[in-house]
């Protein structure tokens, strides 16, 4: 095998590529972004801008206002970053999210929406995107995010806890949107809009699918504490004690699981017919 000089050549090309690539590594990762004028952005924001234009602009729009070229075809509508209002947060209602909240949303995606999981982007790229997204609203310069609401350890699930949760589901008027059976057909359901005036449907708690901001009990607890800003879902942080919120969580989980076994029964029934 007479590849001596060629092996050398190969090696040289490899080293040259890597070195020059490292020097020019303005957009690290698998999927480089657009170069562009810096316009007062930091290096990180600038890289984020390049990536934003590669990945996000189709829905969220060049100005970050949620009016990308595909926004008219999407339901729910893409987030308007200029409002700095975010559903999935660990911070109290009305306050800005932590970077880690935005990172979780980008990584997880928003279930049952057009927003996919951006896990395939490197962590660095996701942080760059967050840095850039925050430049769309002056609030991120003027305000600090609120302190994350604490999530105390989950008490054991019990029938009593779920029963208390069912009572709270009644007394806190959860049913007026989510329906007495949790199917999202409450009396107010048809009237709901998000904060930009687009119709929005309450979550069908029986669907058994993932919640928008994560599927775990802790995430559900957090959603009840923070509310989903920009939607009709309020915060219960002032209204309920942590134990009561856990009761609600336990009740909601029984609705979900009950529906799972019920739908299995339905299927069997249909087969029998």
């Amino acid at each position: 095998m007479k590849t001596g000089p060629n092996t050398l050549f190969l090696f040289t090309v490899m080293i040259a590529t890597l070195t020059s690539g490292r020097a020019a590594a303005q957009n690290a990762g698998s999927g480089s972004g657009y170069p562009g004028p810096k316009d007062g952005l930091t290096d990180q924001e600038h890289r984020g801008q390049g990536l934003y234009r590669r990945y996000c602009v189709g829905c969220h729009g060049a100005r970050g206002d949620g009016n990308g070229e595909n926004a008219p075809y999407l339901d729910p509508k893409p987030r308007d970053f200029t409002q700095a209002t975010f559903k999935c947060r660990s911070t109290p209602t009305g306050s800005l999210p932590l970077d880690s909240d935005l990172y979780d949303t980008i990584s997880r995606g928003i279930h049952a929406s057009g927003m996919p999981s951006w896990n395939p982007l490197t962590p660095e790229q996701r942080h760059e995107l967050i840095a850039y997204i925050k430049t769309f609203s002056p609030r991120f310069r003027e305000e600090q995010p609120g302190a994350p609401l604490p999530i105390p350890p989950e008490p054991p699930t019990s029938a009593e806890s779920a029963k208390r949760g069912a009572e709270l589901f009644q007394s806190m008027n959860c049913w007026s949107c989510h329906g007495k059976d949790g199917r999202g057909h409450g009396p107010s359901a048809m009237t709901l809009t998000d904060s930009k005036g687009y119709p929005i449907t309450p979550f069908d708690l029986t669907s058994g699918t993932r919640f928008k901001c994560g599927a775990s009990d802790r995430e559900l607890f957090r959603d009840l504490m923070t509310g989903l800003d920009g939607t009709p879902m309020p915060s219960f942080a002032d209204a309920l004690k942590p134990d009561q919120i856990w009761d609600l969580v336990h009740y909601i989980q029984t609705i979900r699981e009950g529906s799972k076994s019920a739908s299995v029964e339905n299927r069997t029934e249909r087969k029998g017919n």
């Binding site: 306050s95 007394s171 008027n173 509310g227 800003d229 309020p234 915060s235 309920l240």
Partner: protein, 249 residues
């Protein structure tokens, strides 16, 4: 010798004060003074007042119980002589960049009979807002601002909620998503020169510094009307705004 310097200094100081006084005509540098300049007036509705929409509260019996005779929407409320209620009247321009401390006394919005009481609230930026739930049902109070932060809180009976809005905004729609018929507006001003018209459509803006102002009236359904007004010290001017109903309304 020393005395002469003092005299010159005094003279200079006097000149400065004089300059200051001379410039007082332009309100930009005028500290809020307790002059009694005043703009009063009335907001009229011309045309046929649209019939209030009946609200069906059957979805929440605890609400329905409080309105044995049925409830009606408060979109356009005018008295027999056309006095239009629930209009924000305020100075939208002419105060320059004066800063005003918010009043100590909080503004209050009450949820009563599954309606907002008062129907609209005017307040100053950074002023406290007390949200009261006087009902026996759980509400959620959900302001939908453009210029302030949006928040949304569940409020069971009796729980006090205290909030504030840091930026001027006319006007922030407020919803209770649980009870979709509930709708209010909160107007936030960076100065204290605002009023909400009463049942007879009257308003009264007191203690204004003399100057030329743009006076604005804002109604949730009828929109905005603007007038210019110039008032001297201790002067009182009367202004009338007229909103016309839509033809056939």
């Amino acid at each position: 010798m020393k005395k002469r310097y003092q005299a010159i200094a005094t003279l200079l100081a006097l000149c400065l004060v004089g300059l200051q006084a001379a410039r007082a005509g332009s309100p930009a540098n005028d500290a809020p003074t307790a002059t009694s300049a005043r703009v009063t007036g009335v907001v009229k509705f011309e045309g046929i007042v649209p019939k209030a929409i009946h609200i069906n509260m059957a979805a929440d019996p605890s609400c329905a119980r409080q309105h044995p005779n049925g409830a009606a929407s408060e979109d356009i409320v005018a008295d027999s002589s056309g006095g239009l209620e629930n209009v924000f009247v305020f100075i939208s321009d002419g105060l320059g960049d004066r800063a005003f401390d918010p009043p100590q006394k909080p503004a209050v919005i009450e949820q009563k009979g599954c309606m907002y009481e008062p129907h609209v609230v005017a307040m100053q930026a950074h002023q406290k807002l007390d949200v009261v739930n006087a009902d026996s049902t759980t509400h959620n109070i959900h302001p939908l601002p453009n210029n302030n932060r949006e928040w949304n809180k569940s409020q069971p009976p009796g729980l006090p909620i205290e909030e504030t809005f840091p930026r001027e905004e006319v006007a922030i729609p407020v919803k209770c998503n649980v009870h979709p018929w509930m709708r209010s507006y909160i107007a936030v001003f960076k100065h204290p020169y605002f009023a909400v018209t009463g049942k007879d459509g009257s308003f009264d803006l007191k203690d204004l510094p003399p100057g030329t102002y743009t006076l604005e009236a804002w109604h949730e359904k009828l929109g905005t009307a603007i007038q210019k007004v110039t008032i001297g010290p201790s002067e009182t001017k009367t202004v009338q705004f007229v909103f016309k109903g839509r033809p056939g309304a």
